[in-house]
Amino acid sequence: MSPAPVYVYGVVDAGVAAPDSCGIAAQPLRSVAADGIAAIVSDVPGSEPPLARAALTAHSEVLEAVLATATILPMRFGVIMDGDAAVRTQLLEPHRDELRAQLDRLDGRVELTLRATYEEAPLLREIMASEPRIRAVHAASSGSYIEQLRLGEMIAEAVEARRRLDTDRILSVLAPLAEDYQLAEPRHERMALSASFLIPRSDIAAFDAAVDDVGRSQGDRMRLRYTGPLPPHSFVNLENAS
């Protein structure tokens, strides 16, 4: 009989207790410790991995509950291991040094994410006003598929040029205030920026103010979505992970 599987939420210092609450599938949280570090886990009932939406919510809530009072290295959503022994022998013990180093490096830090999305009408007006070449193509277009495609391609190129420029501008304001940052690829064609920033808790207010400044300076051409504090998802990794 194989060991009962456990769901793994994240790694903490062994001195941090598991929250007195439940995780995925309403299973109580507990901690599995080895060598001064510990994983927050809960049992997985049944045979089917519980990866539905409610599980994603629960995963997030567990991480935040720990983050409220401690530093946690979050696991990516969906990691299930083959029992407590596997948590020790496959996660904690072989990766002990890098996990310890990241717990120390990320102590007292949180992740704040910022996504900037262009408002469609202001963006297109801006482009049409500043690109005579595109205006000409648009004015001459009969609306045929090929002409629409060409027009759209030119606009997409202009958007990309603005994206690069705006990314540089926004980062020039925010990056100096962060200990680290990560850029993600834009997820749709009107996304101007998608970034995660690593911020010491004591600097959150200053970073808030800087994001407000960015919002004001962009006016109505861009909408900012600013979320956090989150556990440092974007700033953890294991070297030998595939």
Partner: protein
């Protein structure tokens, strides 16, 4: 969500503060964080497929046509009378940002979470920037039990509503709010 996590939204000189919906952090939950090896990641297969599907190619025919259609709509806007302009503008901002150039990821998320859910409503209302109550947006996570398995068709089918058929009167037809998986 715990009370400490805030979703803040800035734009047009204002900042809204409210709770972070799952929608706002699904990217980091699915894409970021520690993973240890292939063996363990087997548990992630379905989710990873979802996020890979969701990465759109920004330089694509779909994108080009959406931009071209959006510029054509812009013409309608500019040709309309001054009297109608404010109404049309707000209509375009709302309708356009919701369906016209909505990214594939949103479609995929809706598939993951089911359409018409709390988070999506949160997002829509925040997109419209109505400057509403800042503190009451957090929705109860206990009501989010809907299924997650209907993602297969969601990632690439969102463009059905982008027919450029918005009327000059600016009324928001129900079809303009079509969702990827509906």
């Amino acid at each position: 969500m715990s009370p400490m996590t805030l979703h803040r939204e800035a734009g047009a000189g204002y900042v809204q503060r409210g709770g972070a919906g799952l929608y706002e952090i699904v990217d980091v939950l699915l894409d970021k964080g520690l993973v240890i090896d292939v063996f363990v990641r087997v548990a992630l297969v379905g989710i990873e497929l979802l996020t890979i599907d969701a990465r759109i190619v920004i330089a694509s025919v779909d994108t080009y046509l959406r931009f071209a259609e959006a510029v054509n709509r812009l013409d309608l806007l500019q040709e309309s009378s001054d009297e109608n302009l404010p109404e049309l503008m707000s209509d375009m901002t709302e309708g356009g940002s919701e369906n016209k150039t909505k990214g594939v990821l949103e479609g995929a998320k809706e598939s993951l979470f089911g359409s018409g859910d709390d988070d999506d409503k949160d997002k829509d209302s925040e997109d419209e920037g109505s400057g509403g109550s800042a503190s009451s947006r957090r929705s109860s996570s206990s009501s989010r039990g809907s299924g997650s398995s209907s993602r297969s068709s969601g990632a690439t089918s969102r463009s059905s509503s982008s027919s450029g058929s918005r009327s000059r009167s600016g009324s928001r037809s129900s079809s303009s709010r079509g969702r990827a998986n509906s």
